[in-house]
Amino acid sequence: MLNRRVMVTGLGAVSGLGLDVPAFWEALKAGRSAIKPFDLPIDNIKMSRIVTVPAYETNRYFSSEELTILDRFSQLAVIAAQEAVDDAGLVCGENILTDAAAIIGSGCGGKHTDEATYDQLYKQQRSRAHPLTIPKGMPSAAASMVSLHLGIKGPAFVLASACASGSHAIIQGMTMIQSGMIDVALVGASDAPFTYGLLKSWDALRVASADTCRPFCKDRSGLVLGEGAAMLVLESEEHAKQRGAHIYSEVIGCGMTSDAGHITRPDVFGITNAIKNALHHAEVNTDEVDYINAHGTATTANDIAETEAINQVFGAHAKDLAVSSTKSMHGHALGASSALELVAATLAIHHGIIPPTANFTEADEKCNLDYVPNIARQQPVNIALSNSFAFGGLNAVIALKKYT
């Protein structure tokens, strides 16, 4: 069994903050939130705030033939994937990309396609379903379409763990590279949850803010749903160096746990162990960590549990850590959030700038950490963690390090 070092050599991001990584990073640095009043042409929804990906010209990214089989979540995945491989200097048709893996997380899959068909069948009483419903809507469609679009012929699949889907996908790619199974993996996540049925279902959970997303604040009022996709090119150190690839950071470890507790309420014990496992796997001491990109949903349940877990794991060093939630800017894009947040953490290391927690007012009395309120901080980041704690108690933490 090998234990190869794993590098991040390419980034792609589509979010409410823009259609690419430069737009994403500019907004994060400025502390600019994409949260806006609900403006989708869907009636009878209680949710009053939302984050949507800016309108884009589909023919800039896809052929008309591709478009017929692309659900929105696959479109976002392909746009981010193309940016990541371009950024890494990989070319469709060349062996490096042909042999790569494509491992993509998604919290909800091809819901636009499924719901359009269900609407026709159940509501409009039509007698037949559109024949492309299955290939467009299947949860694995994003991996298939990324593979098709980029000519990736290695292992490709979608995995689902709700809001941690991206982190689990990234960890899967990392371990496959570490073990020597593959040299290059395109990893990340995509989610496009703005359909009538899903929005009504989120309304029913009563966790959406009517104001904005203010993680860790006394007056926080819940999460704001978003959509988007983010992809990273991971590569073994040897492979990256051999081809002279630009290295953003190193993925040095991961921790994964399950709460085996409550279906929606986070568990401090499960979170604590996920963070501890990541530090152990990365062979890092608590006092070496500079920054945590928090799960930070701005729900009462998450923010207090996450803060408590960080205090438990880091002890006295917890006060010296910078902890921010970029969900305050790109919203909670479900599985895609965890991938967007790993891109944010990677860029924090790369640029030595910690993105803030936007919309910050006053900290909750049970939230006693340095949440980098509202203004980005120029500070060297050697080691960063990215936390993701999904509904259903599925926890994933990834450790990144500046590559030297």
Binding site: S64, E65, T68, I69, R128, H130, P131, L132, P135
Partner: protein, 76 residues
């Protein structure tokens, strides 16, 4: 609208070929109708003509004319 016109419209929309190519003797595969596009064409035909095209007749549909004949048969 003639039946051929509607059939041609559906094939052009699905396969991206030129409308003048969709003549009765044209083979669907030559027009770019692969297996996935074929089920889309069948779906659109069923919707447009309010008919059911049974799976059994599909293997016998090779040309545009075969579609026209099947539609005529089914509508009788």
């Amino acid at each position: 609208m003639m039946i051929l016109d509607k059939v041609a419209e559906i094939i052009v929309e699905t396969a991206g070929c030129k409308v003048e190519e969709v003549v009765p003797e044209a083979e669907l595969s030559v027009l770019g109708v692969d297996s996935l596009k074929a089920i889309t064409v069948l779906f659109e035909l069923e919707e447009a003509f309010d008919i059911e095209i049974p799976n059994e007749v599909i293997p016998s549909i090779v040309t545009v004319n075969d579609i026209l004949e099947k539609i005529a048969e089914i509508r009788q």
